[in-house]
């Protein structure tokens, strides 16, 4: 794959991923990952200090599925909708079928409860640091590390970023 094909493949994955979340098809979310995988939400400060565990840490597809079950059945939170913008997708390394990439993101949250219905606001900005496997035309995340700039509202995190 040349540089253009690589970025196209990574963008296709990112775009499908964010539409899956924004459309609330969260049961399909784990399928964007390989069986052995890492999904982590953390801050740059955590990473720079070598702290191993961030805000969210899932290191298997089963943990990703559990997270969605918990979100659907156990968690209490105000109904909302996400809207993701992804920008500046950039390939940072290629080794065999493994690609690393960085992409900026911004997520807006629109509340759906009666009081705040239809009010949108900036929810989180940051960077995706991804390790992606491209195998036989199928593209999946082996690692998705979400480094949030917006450290303040992490306690409210329910839906994946």
């Amino acid at each position: 794959m040349d540089a253009r094909e690589l970025r196209f493949a990574v963008e296709e994955l990112q775009h499908a991923y964010v539409h899956c979340i924004d459309a609330d098809r969260l049961e399909e979310w784990p399928d964007f990952f390989t069986d052995l995988c890492l999904y982590e939400i953390t801050t740059r400060e955590n990473v720079e200090q070598g702290l191993p565990v961030g805000v969210i840490y899932c290191d298997s597809k089963g943990m990703l599925r559990d997270r969605i079950v918990a979100l659907r059945q156990a968690n209490i939170y105000g109904p909302h909708r996400y809207r993701h913008m992804v920008s500046a997708v950039r390939i940072t390394g290629v080794k065999g079928s493994t690609v690393t990439a960085e992409s900026n993101y911004a997520v807006y949250r629109t509340m759906l409860d009666p009081v705040n219905y239809g009010h949108s606001e900036l929810y989180s900005v940051g960077i995706y640091l991804d390790t992606i496997e491209i195998e036989q035309g199928v593209t999946r995340f082996r690692e998705k590390r979400v480094l949030v700039d917006t450290a303040r509202i992490l306690s409210l995190l329910v839906t994946p970023l």
Copy 2:
């Protein structure tokens, strides 16, 4: 056209479309549509309930032109400028020369009146659900359905999204 050529063509159309609006060249806006066309701004709730008419509903190029004439001559509103971000353009179907696509958008509005001059804020986020005709190298919207997340400020809608 392969997948890369298709997304490129759709992105070129989306990018030209948003720059046209952001540069206030609204008289050119109807030319992004085929003669028989649909331009609609609505909410997901409306769509899910099968309600036929959203906030704005234009089903011909003439109605699009009328809208711009009204905006220039009849409507009273505070002077403002839009800035569109489009992200995650994704082809969802292809049938002959007809392509369907979904794209996330965020629009910022900057006020130009003396009191609020130069203040920018999030105005609307949502998704474009488009049906696009590609004919002899010319790409146009046959349908552009704007599903807004930001239901709250729809009453202020003047400029097209």
Copy 3:
């Protein structure tokens, strides 16, 4: 280069440029420009009135380097992080190895001081009007004109947009 190759090359430059700023690798920032160059931040009003000098005006690579030295050593400002979104990259002209392009941008600022730590907000939206040189596979800005919509907060400008 065909239209797809051109937009790819320009996007690669824009993406690398914004990741450089967002990662605070500002010492590398001047290297995105040719030796003879123009970097300007201004408003559309300034441009339309033919006013020559905007908010920031640097017409050599040396001036760009000076700006970063000043920022690191002399300026007093609250610690912050930027996050750039770039969208709707559009080639507007090609002449030999020189390409002109327009791209919408939105920048979010996250404060890093103890009081506001981790709070993100919209900082600036506007348009990049760029003249880009593509020579032997190296892509650089000969001119980068940043036309801000968000006129209000220009006085706080420290980090380049």
